[in-house]
């Protein structure tokens, strides 16, 4: 019988690999009877859904802009490339 700590590890692993038969049975039964781990599984799904919906915006922050000095440096480097 899985305890909740073990179950949450399988809930997570289930997102990254195929659980083997014994793991699937054990987790399936645990989720049937444990609403907290069911909620945990749903929460992981919610997080994934939020990320899929806003992934591009997630990591674009106001502070994540190239500073003018950085742009200049990059532009200067690009101009060093030999002409066609």
């Amino acid at each position: 019988m899985l305890n909740c700590r073990e179950a949450t590890q399988l809930v997570s692993a289930n997102r990254d690999r195929t659980l083997h038969f014994g793991e699937r049975i054990g987790l399936g039964f645990h989720l049937l009877i444990c609403k907290w781990c069911r909620r945990y599984a749903r929460q992981l799904g919610d997080i994934a859904r939020i990320l899929r919906g806003g992934g591009d915006r997630l990591l674009s922050q106001d502070s994540a802009q190239l500073e003018p000095a950085a742009r200049d440096r990059i532009r200067a480097r690009l101009e060093q490339e030999p002409p066609l």
Binding site: C4, I47, L58, S60, R71, I74, P83
Partner: protein, 191 residues
């Protein structure tokens, strides 16, 4: 350098520089590394511009190149500073969430309750904060897996993770920490 207007890296820099930089920064967490990756991407794109026939959006194409650059960087860094052992990331959040018999010690809330619904933007902002609070390696793996959709096999191979078990434990710890952080930061009054 001479180039047509359609394949001018300076134009790419102007149009896509910030987006590329944000993408890189979100995965390498170091401003000057992120800058270098943007530069390398634009140089590589210019070198391979003949192969780009505009099938995808310009930005999508550039991000694709950048993704490879990011992975290369992470792989090199992983060789310098091996960071993928389970003991590098203590299970302190798990220890706080479960008792010695593995039962939940904390309440696992129902996020679907109407009084608990947050706006998408609020959730994204909280997620951004909470991902930022993760140890760097855990954050990187989580983002590559859940935002970029890299499969386990890919991650293990590309980042030279010593054992698949380590990857899955690290992702599990990242998720457990994220969940706890989100719950903590999204406490609604009257719950």
């Amino acid at each position: 350098m001479q180039s047509t207007a359609q394949s001018d890296p300076a134009v790419w820099l102007q149009r896509h520089g910030d987006a590329l930089y944000a993408f890189a920064l979100g995965r390498v967490r170091n401003a000057s590394v992120a800058e270098d990756l943007v530069q390398d991407t634009l140089l590589a794109a210019f070198a391979s511009r003949e192969g780009f026939r505009g099938e995808a959006a310009e930005r999508t194409w550039l991000i694709g190149i950048l993704k490879h650059k990011v992975i290369d960087h992470l792989r090199r860094r992983g060789r310098e500073v091996p960071l993928d052992e389970q003991h590098d990331y203590p299970a302190d959040v798990e220890d706080a969430c479960f008792d010695e018999r593995g039962h939940w010690l904390v309440d696992v809330r129902d996020w679907s309750r109407p009084d608990r619904v947050l706006e998408q933007d609020q959730l994204l902002a909280l997620l951004r904060e909470c991902i930022g609070a993760l140890p760097e390696r855990l954050a990187t793996l989580f983002v590559l897996r859940e935002v970029d959709g890299m499969e386990s096999e890919e991650l293990i191979a590309e980042l030279e993770i010593s054992s698949p078990g380590n990857l899955w434990v690290m992702l599990s710890r990242a998720r457990m920490r994220l969940r706890a952080c989100l719950e903590e930061k999204s406490v609604q009054p009257g719950y």
